[in-house]
Symmetry: C2
Subunit: 375 residues, 2 copies
DNA sequence: AAGATGCCCCAAAACGTTTGCGCGGGAACC
DNA sequence: GGTTCCCGCGCAAACGTTTTGGGGCATCTT
């Protein structure tokens, strides 16, 4: 409907569960072209094109003959040739720091899913935060004439986005980064998430709070921290600078940061806000090694709500991001942009949500095990 | 070197850290074409092509002029047009069940990495084991004229591979599946992995062993089980059918299977072999909920060695697959195939390895906590 | 019966590349 | 001084599509 009759007709050819694509191909080394179909059906390539795309009325009998030939040969039009004529390629690219981090993996999965639903496909590139690698990947994607690009990098580098904006040919959406003008950005509402964590801990009576922060240049982690600090201030509490420990948001760095914290603080904070679940799980590990009980001796709250948060010991109380939805939204907005549906380029901030499990106790003087606690 | 001077020249143009791709583009809506470059340099498109690809000697002075124009305009040749002339697209597709499962995520990451190193890019499709979805994704990738395809699906469906083999145009590599003739398959050596687990448990003195198996049609999990059972037999032990519980290899199903096991067995087995780490972690969770200590009351061994295995409580003893290497190998073999380097189409089985941590105790009558155990 | 009107269909151009062929001119050879 | 050779370069075809502009032919109108 509307302006895309082509994909409809394409869908028609795809119908049915049988594998058209495998039929009639046995003798050919190459995929069949529109010419082969035209020859087989005894019509011109023009007619084949119009039958396939439904772009002009064709006599029913001719149409039947052409469709038979298409099915017989297993013909699929080459997007390459189509795109040469100024059409889009139907492919979008994604630059992501890493696809193995569970949070990123889920965002990517959301992107892929929405792309599929809208008839697009996804070229995935892991940047590992290596600028040179990103440049090479970007160059390749430009050569492949992607219609748009989704960027999800952990370290905010303004100059990179500056360069990106110079590319007039391709549209851009960023995920999990600083707000940028002229670029659609999809995030969760990190200040709100930070505040959620702060308020929950304060209500439970915790006063001496630590933080496992992200890297200095990580825009979202910084905002979570900001929201956290501001909510504390509202509650009349101050965040102690000396109780903020940096991580790079991985399991290992959460472990390491917690070890540093426990080594440096004679008496550990009552509760710790971790910038993501991975660091929280790493921190749990370190705390256990040090002989601390969670939440008996120390409470811990995470961020993201990855699947593992429900299965670790103890189950992690955390701030849930609508992870999949962030990916889906980004894909949606990008494709709308590509298809020329003029949208506002305003940032989207999806609301996070607190998920209570077991890693936060009921207060600093409380213990889940009778006979223990009162630390 | 050898037969690919083009990519070399492409690399030359890409050199340097500055962002060529952003320069000179401000006034254009479209990316510049070879014609624009030719006009700017005052030469024919032929010459531009030869300069870019190094396919014919060009006078030094002309060459300099052309290169200047290329840099100035930020020109990148369209792979689309190039591929029309019978060249390859430099893109390979991957059908994977899900990219959020940590094991799959890491394999995919290996594929992506090796593709990048070899100058290819990766189109990722999550199939969710939905045959109809796979057909649609395959159709799209065929239209995009991918050079080859990597398939990593959990449920082995012979008819699908049958169809796939019908496609003469594109090359095929499968990961983590049954051996197939005419198709390169990359796996770990699952029988060996199963045997490794069995021998380790037997050496530790465990006799009554349970299994958290995979789905019935999962070829690798079945082989692990086979290797496990055979090694037990060698040791003079039999695997009790009633102690085999099926899972679908997810966290939740590991949890559920363990709950069933504990409900049905008056006295639980001494040790359990889980077909992957995810089910093992799920099982740990269920065991804890039931008040069982691991490894005090029950030993557990996993498979895969995902990152989380080192951070769960207790740390998981497991069989490590060379996960990343499986992905890299698959990409490598596929691209060799695409580039016509005739390789053997034999299956590859990379050897797994036992990683000892804390989830397996020192024997059925042993306990890690003094005063407990002797269960 | 002649002209007008639709209905079907085809030819050809265009998209951005690569590449075989060939052309002009200067240097080397006899 | 004429022939041969080589060097440096351009022309144009081809790849698989879409799309514009007609053209042939039957049917309807008068």
């Amino acid at each position: 409907m509307g302006s895309r009759p082509k994909s409809e007709a394409g869908g028609a050819v795809r119908r049915g569960p049988t594998a058209h694509y495998a039929k009639g191909m046995e003798a050919r080394a190459q995929l069949p072209t529109i010419k082969d179909v035209a020859r087989a059906a005894g019509v011109s390539v023009t007619t084949v094109s119009h039958v396939f795309n439904g772009t002009r009325p064709v006599a029913a009998e001719t149409q039947a003959r052409v469709k038979a030939a298409i099915d017989e040969l297993g013909y699929y039009p080459s997007i390459l040739a189509r795109a040469l004529k100024g059409e889009r390629t139907g492919t979008i690219g994604m630059l992501a720091t890493s696809s193995t981090n569970p949070f990123f993996a889920e965002v990517i999965s959301g992107v892929e899913e929405r792309c599929f639903e809208l008839g697009y496909s996804l070229i995935l590139c892991n940047t590992r935060e290596d600028r040179q690698r990103m440049n090479a990947q970007l160059a390749t994607m430009l050569q492949k004439r992607i219609d748009g690009l989704i960027v999800m990098t952990t370290n905010y580098d303004p100059s990179f986005f500056q360069d990106l904006r110079g590319l007039r040919g391709i549209h851009l959406v960023a995920i999990d980064t600083e707000d940028l003008d002229q670029v659609i950005v999809v995030n969760d509402d990190s200040e709100m998430g930070g505040a959620l964590a702060a308020n929950f801990l304060v209500e439970r009576g915790f006063r001496r709070l630590g933080v496992l922060a992200g890297p200095h240049q990580h825009p979202r982690a910084n905002r979570r921290l900001k929201g956290f600090a501001e909510a504390l201030k509202q509650a009349g509490l101050a965040l102690e600078e000396s109780l903020i420990y940096r991580t790079d948001l991985t399991l290992g760095s959460g472990d390491a940061a917690m070890q540093r914290l426990l080594a440096q603080q004679k008496v550990p904070p009552e509760a710790i806000f971790c910038m993501n679940d991975l660091t929280a799980i790493g921190a749990m590990h370190a705390a256990r090694q040090a002989g601390l009980e969670i939440p008996g001796d120390l409470s811990l709250i995470g961020y993201d709500d990855i699947e593992m948060a429900s299965y670790c010991q103890p189950q992690l109380t955390t701030i849930r991001q609508p992870t999949m939805e962030i990916g889906r939204t980004a894909a949606q907005r990008l494709i709308a942009l590509v298809q020329g549906e003029e949208e506002t380029s305003e940032a989207v901030a999806l609301p996070p949500q607190l998920v209570e499990r077991q890693s936060v106790g009921h207060g600093p003087a409380w213990s889940d095990k009778p006979g223990k606690g009162e630390a």
